[in-house]
């Protein structure tokens, strides 16, 4: 298994991608190709006190770097020699089995769609992050911002893609697929939800997915569904709302423990519980977000990823490559049909 890693993507490049790659190669037995400015990567290696790259880790040179100011849509034309574009090209050409980048989300999504391409029949690639839930599990939220405005056809396809993801990557035999909505009743929501609801219901009745109906945002962190289907705008709002609330509550908890000497002692007593808590809410544990609907696995790691997050993103990339979700999607694309009038015009 060979994972291609964008060595120049993210706030901590190339140090974090390099260190994460070294750890992943050792821990997961994967080969890693670091794509980026060779000299900078080797310098970072020296800075870490290592003279030569270990076996299984190699460098593919790329002179340019995609940054946050690049227009996502024109990256593949204007930054042809960037680590992101070259890495995706290598993935397409079969030089590796999956690609990991902590670079610009928009650029990665756009370049991956143009280079790696969508599975035939899939209208939009989607971002499917995992959300920690109460029961100790995770839910897949699809989409969380790849496409702001969705059509019913997008949502139906997201439901299938999310279901395959949950089966293979979360190991659930019959994942519960819910439609993110603002009420439990069938008739709730805006035009989009009202139109897609019967399509999801039909797919459920046919046994293609396990559609459980609407799921309200409140139920998502409480484990109300394994797959949460949403347009990218609302999904992004939910994902970031959860993050912000977790940050807010963590800071209140900190204040609670810092009140006085006794509460500081209490914090020591609760240390293992606090650590469980932190681990549960730590996005670095997941590593990244899989872009679903592409022909090969592309993982978006968080821009602020450190070595630990990159290592986990590589673990996730390995799992995604083994899972071959693109294969599942391609084999079932004819089940994701919508009535002609609801088809998305390209």
């Amino acid at each position: 298994m060979r994972i291609i890693v964008d060595a120049m993507g993210g706030d901590n490049a190339p140090q974090a991608p390099l260190a994460g790659a070294l750890d992943a190669a050792k821990e997961y037995g994967v080969e890693v190709i670091l794509v980026g400015r060779g000299e900078e990567i080797l310098q970072a290696l020296k800075d870490q006190g290592i003279d030569t790259l270990p076996k299984g880790v190699e460098i593919a040179n790329a002179d340019e770097v995609v940054d946050m100011h690049d227009d996502p849509a024109s990256v593949i034309k204007k930054k042809k020699n960037s680590s992101m574009v070259i890495g995706l090209q290598m993935l397409k050409d079969g030089a590796g089995d999956a690609f990991v980048s902590a670079g610009s989300t928009g650029a990665l999504l756009s370049a991956a769609t143009l280079i790696v391409k969508r599975v035939k029949g899939i209208r939009r690639a989607a971002m499917g992050p995992m959300i920690p839930t109460k029961a100790g599990g995770n839910a897949v939220l699809i989409d969380c911002g790849a496409t702001a405005d969705a059509t019913p056809e997008f949502l139906l396809q997201f439901a299938f893609m999310g279901s395959y993801y949950a089966k293979k990557m979360l190991g659930l035999s019959n994942p519960r697929v819910g439609l993110l909505n603002i009420g439990a009743e069938d008739s709730k929501g805006g035009e989009l939800q009202k139109t897609v609801y019967p399509l999801l219901q039909k797919a459920g009745e046919a046994g293609y997915i396990n559609f459980i109906g609407n799921v309200e945002a409140r139920e998502v962190p409480l484990g109300g569904a394994d797959v949460v289907v949403s347009d990218g705008f609302s999904g992004n709002v939910l994902l970031k709302g959860i993050e912000g609330t977790a940050m807010f509550m963590a800071s209140m908890m900190k204040a609670m423990f810092k009140k006085n000497l006794l509460t500081k002692l209490a914090a020591l007593v609760c240390k293992s519980g606090i650590n469980d808590f932190k681990k549960k809410m730590d996005s670095r544990e997941t590593g990244g977000t899989l872009l679903l609907g592409l022909t090969k696995p592309v993982i978006k790691a968080h821009g602020s990823s450190d070595a630990y997050a990159i290592k986990n993103a590589i673990r996730q990339a390995k799992a995604a490559a083994e899972a071959d979700i693109a294969g599942d999607i391609a084999a079932n694309i004819d089940k994701m049909m919508v009535p002609k009038e609801l088809e998305h015009a390209e």
Copy 2:
């Protein structure tokens, strides 16, 4: 100041509305009219060990009750004699200054719009709940589900209404108005956000509102804006996502403190901090959500409201009546103009 209270609305009626009304009358010096089944209310009074209604609290009889199964749109026709419809009619007729109900949200919104009516020129009433934020303050989220799909015109009006609300009810002289979006840059979001952004910017430049640009969901609990403008669908997702995350984290915190004898002792030590925490996240503290854009104040209290929540909703109703936000909206309606082609067709 006279507050009309729906004595039959919510899961704990008539006990909670009655007890909340008695407390509010004593504590805030308001007169309260309890609308509902007189006998049931008097029985509830006896059950609380009180023989006669205190001065300032009276009953207006209404034989019917709106329940969760009633179709919201037809309540004013089919449940003419319900506590909700009669209470709203009394508000309209000037028998009181504000109306509080813990009954069905949809029915209240629909009946209030039809009876109390929107301020002339306002296209949609909006729900504006307060969200606790990190800095110790609150943010107004408008809309959170009164209307699922919004037009740019709705959002522009929500921005003004939310701003007046924050000025008068939160005491902010220049509330920061942000557009809920999935990125910080001007060009982010779906069609709706892209279209309304320049309109909000223009209103900001004219000095009508203090528009600070886009605000991501992550920043909302962290205090990134005082007024968060959103379509009802995404606003509802954000509000409930925050609630669900808070519930999830509270249950983890509980587990942390219940681990063993020492952690249970730690919980005792942290008691005051835990209470601050609980109070901050307790929706009963606010009492309810103001429906904005109507000619008179209508407060939706949570369906599960107890006496304490109802008491606070009555306090909020009093504040809303004193604030006369409807007056501000009416006086400034011509500032909320959108280009003709963006006007909402009724």
